[in-house]
């Protein structure tokens, strides 16, 4: 599908300044794509790590983007697009865990295969963190990776998950405590 350049459309408006619904659609689509482009890797990373590097992450990512595209008219321009699309991803991850009856286990080979392979000590510590994160509850996982992987603030996570900031703080503290307990004494200095 050939996309019309919105700038050209703006330079040559229709008589009377009206634009057709098809042109409006193209405007919205281009806006959607240009906003999504810089967020793709981060969005996929959040989903992939929340699902413990499970291959279903591709399906969840696909569903997230398609759902966001479908409801793009519901996006309020005064809100952050990043927060909006991550809230959809958060819901999709939650929906996935609700459907999945089995527990997701962490595959050591998969994780080591994705690492740069330069620092053996660090890679072992990274693996231990992900292995411990697998024991978090579904809710803890989502907030944990929104905070540590995607870099959202407490306030933004509260917006994304539809809860209070205090609730996010408590959940993150519980996540850290649980990870600490699973790591045991291996990280004591």
């Amino acid at each position: 599908m050939k996309l019309i350049n919105p700038l050209a459309l703006a330079r040559h408006p229709r008589p009377g300044g009206e634009i057709s619904s098809a042109e409006q659609e193209i405007w919205e689509m281009e806006g959607f794509e240009s906003r999504l482009e810089p967020l793709k890797d981060g969005l996929y990373g959040f989903i992939l790590k929340s699902l413990g590097f499970n291959e279903d992450a591709a399906d969840v990512y696909q569903e997230t983007v398609l759902r966001a595209f479908k409801y793009r008219k519901g996006f309020k321009r005064d809100r952050s697009f990043k927060t909006w699309i991550f809230s959809i991803a958060n819901n999709e991850v939650r929906r996935y865990f609700r459907k999945a009856k089995h527990t997701l286990s962490i595959d050591r080979e998969t994780i080591f295969g994705m690492m740069p392979g330069k620092e053996a000590d660090k890679e072992q510590r990274v693996y231990e963190i992900f292995a411990a994160a697998a024991f978090l509850t579904e809710r803890q996982k989502r907030m944990f990776f929104l905070f540590y992987e995607s870099g959202f603030s407490i306030r933004e996570i509260a917006q994304i998950t539809g809860t209070t900031e205090n609730n996010v703080k408590v959940t993150l503290n519980q996540s850290r405590a649980r990870i600490r307990s699973h790591l045991g004494g291996s990280h004591e200095t």
Binding site: M1, M29, Y44, D56, M114, K122, G151, R180
Partner: protein, 117 residues
């Protein structure tokens, strides 16, 4: 003096972000094609594909049993009189499957009676 927590935020963030997660090009292209309308059908989810696979395999197995029923009946165990059932036993290494052929007019309906280890 309070000792610094070895599991501080920076440590965890470094560890979590240590693994790069670029979106796979195939997935990126697939989603882009779907957005532009070049691809309409959604890829079924893993669980759906798994269920479809099992259903397909079961259908094929059932079909093979129905089609090969008369052959097995003629070349296997003694032929039963029409309208009655006979039993065929298939020995697979490690397992023994018992199939009861319910004879009807024109075809045989196989019923797997039991799988014994």
């Amino acid at each position: 003096m309070k000792r610094k927590d070895p599991l501080d935020d920076r440590f965890i963030r470094d560890a979590v972000q240590f693994i790069p997660t670029p979106i796979p090009p195939q997935l990126n292209k697939r989603v882009a094609d779907m957005l532009t309308g070049r691809r309409r059908s959604k890829r079924p989810s893993f669980h759906r594909r798994w269920r479809l696979g099992i259903a397909l395999a079961a259908s094929v197995l059932f079909g093979v049993l129905v089609l090969t029923g008369p052959f097995l009946r003629d070349h296997g165990e003694p032929t039963a009189t029409p309208g009655r059932s006979i039993t065929t036993r298939i020995d697979i290494p490690g397992k023994k499957i018992t199939i009861v052929w319910m004879q009807r007019e024109g075809f045989s309906l196989p019923l797997i009676q039991g799988v014994k280890p």
